[in-house]
């Protein structure tokens, strides 16, 4: 489903922060992405999310060479990917419900067709009582759960999560991991970037480890 071949990335004229990255992510696969701070985990996620273009190498997503895609085609590819970023990126003028429903709204779906689905998911992530709250009044953990709910609501083919359990207690962390696993079982490929060894130990999955700009894969 995703193939990287000799991908390199540098910002401006700086040093190459990702070097000769080559890997293949099959559909319905589950993997953790780890490595020390500054190893390039977020940059690799951004390459996977098409918000960065590689300096060199080939990136093939869903069978398409990304470098040949138009802006509209990239927007369509992004609809098949869900992303949870460390800084959540919730829209402050929208309620939790509206933030989570945003992917459906962008798809042009009528509100009545997704209302129940959004409410169910919000309840499941423990935000049932907070669906009309605006993000500025949510706690860090609540924001994180809302961001995760937004990323998974449209059941993407690929889910990218950057430290998704960083701001929640261990119990909720386990619950969120269960959500990712269930999503994976229903057909979504999942990549979770994390430092949390305990989280990784809870589920037996492939580990991609970034070290000094290079990727090591542990099956």
């Amino acid at each position: 489903m995703i193939r990287f071949e000799n991908v390199g990335l540098r910002y401006g004229l700086g040093p190459e922060i990702l070097r000769d990255i080559s890997f293949h992510l099959p559909a319905r696969s589950f993997q953790f992405l780890s490595g020390p701070s500054g190893a390039g985990k977020t940059s690799l996620l951004r390459l996977l999310f098409l918000s960065l273009r590689p300096t060199r190498g080939l990136v093939n997503l869903f069978g398409q060479d990304v470098s040949l895609q138009s802006k509209d085609a990239i927007a369509d590819l992004r609809k098949r990917i869900g992303i949870v970023l460390q800084d959540f990126r919730l829209l402050d003028h929208m309620t939790t419900y509206e933030n989570v429903a945003l992917p459906f709204r962008v798809m042009g779906r009528d509100e009545s067709t997704y209302r129940r689905e959004v409410i169910d998911l919000l309840k499941w992530v423990g935000l049932g009582e907070r669906m009309d709250a605006l993000p500025p009044v949510l706690s860090g953990g609540e924001k994180q759960r809302a961001a995760i709910a937004r990323a998974v609501i449209a059941r993407p083919q690929l889910l990218l999560a950057d430290e998704p359990t960083g701001n929640v207690d261990p119990t909720l962390g386990q619950r969120l991991l269960r959500l990712f696993i269930e999503l994976n079982k229903s057909g979504t490929a999942v990549i979770i970037a994390t430092h949390d060894i305990a989280l990784m130990d809870q589920y037996d999955a492939r580990r991609l480890v970034l070290h000094q700009g290079r990727l090591h894969i542990y099956e």
Binding site: F49, D72, R89, M94, R105, R115, E117, S186
Partner: protein, 323 residues
């Protein structure tokens, strides 16, 4: 995974946690919050620009209408001037020239000015109580041609000069040509001012759009994250700008229309005074015809469309930068 009541797959099976009451439809917040766009300043700029554009267009329409009225009046008139000459009877020459003009094909009406009327014409310069017997003052005959006819002016000139050699015939062509070039110059100046106003509007709107995009950059980024295309994002911003442009345009246009409406009343207050008469002579009644008001309304729509178009171009350019 289970089936939800509405027939769509749901991600989670909540079991007994599922809400038992029907979910109400929600009023969704706009994707781009209205308050995040510096709307008032933009409405004011567009209103001022539309006002200036409407005043310019209205003035050009007024001058154009007055000039065509003048031209049609003057163009249908011919002035025959009979100068006193030694050994000739001026009264007889005037009568002969008037008779010749009356018989000329295409002439509707001939009116020779009497001695008293000629004296009255000179009164502003020479004062009252003037005796024309002491001065070699020429006499005027005003002939009115039927509208739309092409007069044989040469024929008329040779006929009257045969009867009265000291006669000249003037069809005011030089005067009309000068008027026409003055009107054209006014129209060109008006078009120039309009072009400047439109360019200034485009620049103001582009700056406002850039500012709004900068203020809403986080929203644009999130929309990109959830797979929104540039067209989708641009359309949401565009709606705001079209609305702001229309609001500004309507304010400016209504203000200009009121001004034209009131200027008619103001002209009426001044009628009878020298200043009022001068203006009335130059610009007629100062009243814009209904078609003029329609032109102003059309121009407002045009400015709103230009606002939206300028905003759209800037939006796509900025989205390219953000991406």
């Amino acid at each position: 995974m289970s089936k939800a009541g509405d027939g769509h797959d749901v991600l989670m099976d909540l079991g007994r946690e599922r809400p038992q009451v029907p979910v109400r439809a929600r009023n969704m917040s706009p994707i781009v919050p209205r308050a995040s766009i510096a709307g008032r300043a933009l409405v004011a700029v567009v209103a001022i620009m539309t006002f200036l554009a409407s005043i310019t267009t209205g003035a050009v329409l007024l001058i154009n209408a007055s000039a065509s009225e003048w031209q049609s009046e003057v163009a249908s008139e011919i002035t025959i001037q009979v100068r006193p000459a030694a050994g000739r009877d001026l009264e007889q020459d005037v009568a002969a020239a008037a008779a010749a003009a009356r018989e000329h094909p295409g002439i509707l009406d001939v009116r020779p000015y009497t001695r008293e009327e000629s004296a009255k014409l000179l009164e502003p310069w020479l004062g009252s109580g003037l005796s024309l017997d002491d001065l070699p003052v020429p006499r005027m005959i005003v002939a009115r041609a039927a509208p739309g006819t092409r007069l044989d002016l040469e024929g008329l000139r040779s006929r009257v000069t045969q009867l009265a050699p000291s006669t000249s015939v003037d069809d005011h062509r030089a005067w009309i040509d000068r008027m026409r070039s003055m009107t054209n110059a006014t129209v060109f100046a008006g078009i120039g001012v309009l072009a400047l106003v439109i360019i200034a509007t485009i620049i103001s709107v582009s700056f406002a759009t850039r500012g709004a995009m900068a203020a809403n950059r986080p929203i644009v980024e999130v929309l990109h994250f959830v797979g929104a295309s540039d067209r989708y994002i641009a359309n949401h911003f565009l709606r705001h700008f079209l609305r702001l442009g229309l609001r500004g345009g309507v304010i400016g246009c209504v203000a200009a229309m009121l001004m034209f409406g009131f200027s008619e009343s103001i002209a009426n207050w001044f009628s009878g005074t020298p200043v009022g008469d001068q203006f009335a002579a130059l610009l007629g009644t100062f009243s814009l015809r209904p078609s003029g008001y329609l032109v102003l309304a059309g121009q407002t729509v045009l400015i709103a469309v230009i606002t939206a178009f300028a905003s759209r171009r800037t939006l796509f350019a900025t989205l390219d930068e953000i991406d």
